[in-house]
Amino acid sequence: MRRRDALAWLGSAAAWTLPVRAQSPAIPVIGYLAPESPGPFDSRLKAFRQGLADAGYVEGRNVEIEYRWAEGRYDRLPALAADLASRQVAVLVASGGAPAALAAKAATKSITIIFEMGGDPVALGVVDSLSRPGGNLTGVSSLSVEVSRKRLEFMHDLRPAVSSFGVAVNPTSPTSGSQVRNLQTAAEALGVRLHVMNASTEGEFEAIFLAATREQAGGIVFTSDPYFAFRSTQLADLCFRYSMPAVTQSRDFPMAGGLMSYGGDFAQSHHRAGSYAGQVLNGEKPSNLPVQLVTKVELAINLKTATALSIAVPSSLISGADTVIE
């Protein structure tokens, strides 16, 4: 009887000490959840690490980062988020769009989540309020989703004579509905017709361009969506092959040979997400960190592509552009 008591006591002591050791490691661990692969995230991670350094943390020195890459398969995000949550990381960073943020939110109620996305976190139900996020998450939102109508406007400015444009939508994106509604309203104001086309996998991209060509659309406006944003190279290649002018949210697109982009500055948003993660490591409560909106929305134009497409870019657009690739 006594021996059994002692064993039970030893067992419970062991059970008690082990998680404690796992919970408070010498170096805090950040769980980093991303919907894509490390390649396209390289520039984002650089900004994120700069933000961490602002709060005094350097990866490998006083902080470790556990990465979970969904490799473009967004349905894997919940499982990856749950994995990170089970590892009891000090802070969970869900970057690269609303799907990652929502997956992280579903995975844990106790670990602080810092999100980085393009949509409106209140409308998406991620937080209750911008100034008082409440709960265990806060983060940064770029204005990419809100400005998708501006992309249509720029396309219209570029080709004022064209009356019909294609709109590429990822139906799996939580913001797709609101973006399409916004675009429809804008199209009415501008007096153009829209041809909405869905694509949620890389395999469907080609079909979009085929359809747009078939419909004689003056260009394709890509809605704000991480899936599109992280596939700028493929999209730019397709544009080149189909001689199709297009505008996306990510600056990577004109850099890769696409015509034009308009969207929130991802370097800024990831930088701030890193800074927030660092502040949480420093003991700040997420409820004390308001959701930040990125102020900078940037327009990038590739004039080489415009010339190849025989499009004369009006000086008003060039003068308003933040980046012009010649």
Binding site: L130, P290, L293, L317
Partner: protein, 581 residues
């Protein structure tokens, strides 16, 4: 001994405290006044510093606002026509690119109609010609030139403001710009001074417009967030241009100074924790405190050493005087301080030496007085040498006298009677001996031997001896009258002789006597022995010496015992006994 010890302690304490205070009081006064002045200087410097920081921060924020209005000024310089103004559209787009804080621009013509609207987020509008004269911003700009809206918070978070501006004439129209004030953050976050000194901006209602902590800035309307800032603003307003103290959101006491931003009617407040702002002051105070303590310790040590050095000689003096007072005249007080105390010790030593000398003299006089007349003894002592007492040969008059029938009387009489008679007898003779300054060499029982002219020479020794003898005989005869009435059969006879004799001190150690040796002594003694009652017998030398001046008559040749020849003996006439004869 305990009392003396206490007195010593008291003196030491007095000296110690006086010396200690003499050092500590000026030191403390100096230290405290310096600390106080330093505190005031530092405080003034701090106020100046904070004031400068406030003005500088104010200028930076003012610069941000003025930069916006300057840029907007470009858009209201050329008059509008009825045609769309493509040039102005491009200018506006360029402005939007140039000034990231501007979110949207609305250009109105002279009639208040909207000609152009461009935005970073919303769709642009061209030539909508909607009349917006009724807008507050338009009305404000028309009356004031430049109009600033109150700060509004987009979805209760991001601070925004509208700036409206009219040109210098109506035809150039107006521009209305929506400004995202979050971009002041770059300006406000760059304002840093000291270690944690920073600035923040409040609007006229005390809401946060800008703060280095962007989290606070995005909650600028939240009452609990901005309550401490309101308090700081109130404190800064109360004190005007001076530095105020208040408590910030973290509960830290802070020094604050404010500067206004004209136009939007904001206040820029700079804030520094008091602990940091007053750090140099506290450091200086601590420094002064430590210096004071070190100074006091040093003063204590100094006072202790000095007091010891001052009281030690005094203690030595005290001990020394005690010993001298107890008669140890050989004791010397050894003080080498080289000051008045040493002089005092030396004078004590001199005094001790004087006392020793004086005592020695007193002893000597006492000895001399035993056989010399007191005045002679004084004289000998005054001249300071007892050479006069050394043995020498000189001319002296020797006087012998004794009572007749005393031996028989003493055998019969009681000791009291014997002592009474002797007392009266010596009393009478002593006075006369003293008066004549005769030297008493010895006395035994009822007989005496006196010397005249030794050791001190006198004028006319024989004459003096004769007068002395007569006086003594007369005095004793008066006593004898009394004695005979009591039935004592006592007489008195005297003998005088003059001639050379060896005089000097004889004896051993302290038992010295002065005496004369020679035949003149024997002669005088024999004359005395042969003298009858009331008779004074003198030798020829004496008689010759006083001839014609005293009544001396020869009584014939007499054979004197011890001599083998006869001498001519003289009798000195004595006045008749008053009653007995």
């Amino acid at each position: 001994m305990a009392g003396k010890h206490l007195r010593f302690q008291g003196l030491f304490q007095k000296y110690f405290f006086v010396l200690f205070l003499a050092v500590v009081i000026p030191l403390a006064t100096n230290g405290i006044s310096e600390a106080w002045l330093g505190y005031r200087d530092q405080r003034t410097r701090l106020e100046q510093l904070l004031g400068v920081e406030a003005r500088s921060a104010g200028a930076k924020i003012q610069g941000f606002v003025d930069g916006l209005t300057n840029q907007l000024g470009w858009l209201v310089q050329l008059p509008w026509t009825e045609e769309p103004d493509e040039r102005r559209r491009i200018d506006s787009l360029r402005l939007l690119r140039q000034v990231p804080a501007i979110v949207s621009l609305t250009l109105l013509d002279g009639n208040g109609r909207e000609r152009l609207y461009i935005s970073r987020i919303g769709l642009n509008r061209n030539e909508s010609r909607v009349n917006r004269s009724a807008d507050v911003a338009v009305a404000g700009a028309r009356s004031a030139g430049i109009w600033y809206s109150k700060v509004n918070y987009y979805r209760d978070s991001e601070p925004y403001m509208t700036i409206a501006m009219s040109g210098n004439r109506p035809s150039v129209g107006l521009v209305v710009a929506e400004v995202n004030l979050k971009l002041i953050w770059d300006v406000i976050a760059a304002i840093k001074f000291g270690q944690t000194g920073h600035a923040f901006v409040l609007d006229e209602q005390g809401r946060l417009v800008a703060h280095p902590d962007i989290s606070l800035m995005l909650r600028g309307t939240d009452e609990t967030t901005i309550a401490p800032f309101r308090e700081i603003l109130e404190a800064a307003r109360r004190t005007g241009p001076d530095v105020a103290t208040s408590r910030n959101a973290e509960g830290t006491d802070v020094a604050v100074a404010a500067a206004p931003v004209t136009g939007p009617d904001w206040t820029v407040v700079v804030e520094q924790p008091l602990s940091e702002a007053f750090k140099p002051i506290y450091a200086a105070l601590w420094r002064t405190g430590w210096l004071l303590i070190a100074g006091a310790a040093f003063a204590g040590l100094l006072a202790y050493v000095l007091a010891s050095r001052m009281t030690q000689p005094i203690h030595l003096l005290e001990k020394g005087t005690e010993r001298i007072g107890a008669g140890q005249f050989s004791h010397r007080i050894d003080i080498g301080t080289g000051d008045e105390l040493q002089r005092l010790a030396e004078s004590f030593n001199a005094m001790a030496a004087g006392l020793a000398e004086s005592q020695e003299r007193q002893e000597r006089i006492a000895k001399l007085k035993r056989f010399l007349a007191p005045q002679v003894a004084e004289l000998v002592d005054r001249t300071g040498d007892d050479d006069v007492l050394e043995g020498r040969r000189t001319e002296v008059v020797t006087v012998f006298c004794d009572l007749r029938g005393f031996t028989a009387f003493s055998a019969r009489a009681t000791p009291e009677e014997v002592m009474y008679v002797l007392s009266e007898y010596y009393d009478a003779l002593g006075r006369i001996i003293t008066r004549y300054a005769a030297t008493l060499t010895s006395f035994s029982g009822d007989g005496l031997m006196l010397l005249i002219n030794a050791p001190v020479s006198v004028d006319e020794p024989a004459l003096r001896a004769v007068d002395l003898a007569v006086d003594m005989q007369v005095s004793v005869q008066k006593l004898i009258v009394g004695w005979q009435e009591r039935g004592y059969r006592i007489g008195f006879g005297m003998g005088l002789a003059m001639g050379p004799a060896t005089v000097g001190r004889i004896g051993y150690e302290s038992r010295f006597d002065y005496t004369a040796i020679g035949s003149v002594v024997n002669l005088a003694a024999r004359l005395c022995a042969s003298a009858l009652d009331r008779e004074i017998l003198a030798d020829a030398t004496v008689a010759e010496a006083v001839r014609d001046r005293r009544h001396v008559q020869p009584v014939g040749m007499r054979l004197i015992k011890g001599y083998d020849k006869e001498f001519l003996v003289y009798r000195v006439a004595v006045a008749e006994r008053p009653e007995a004869s």
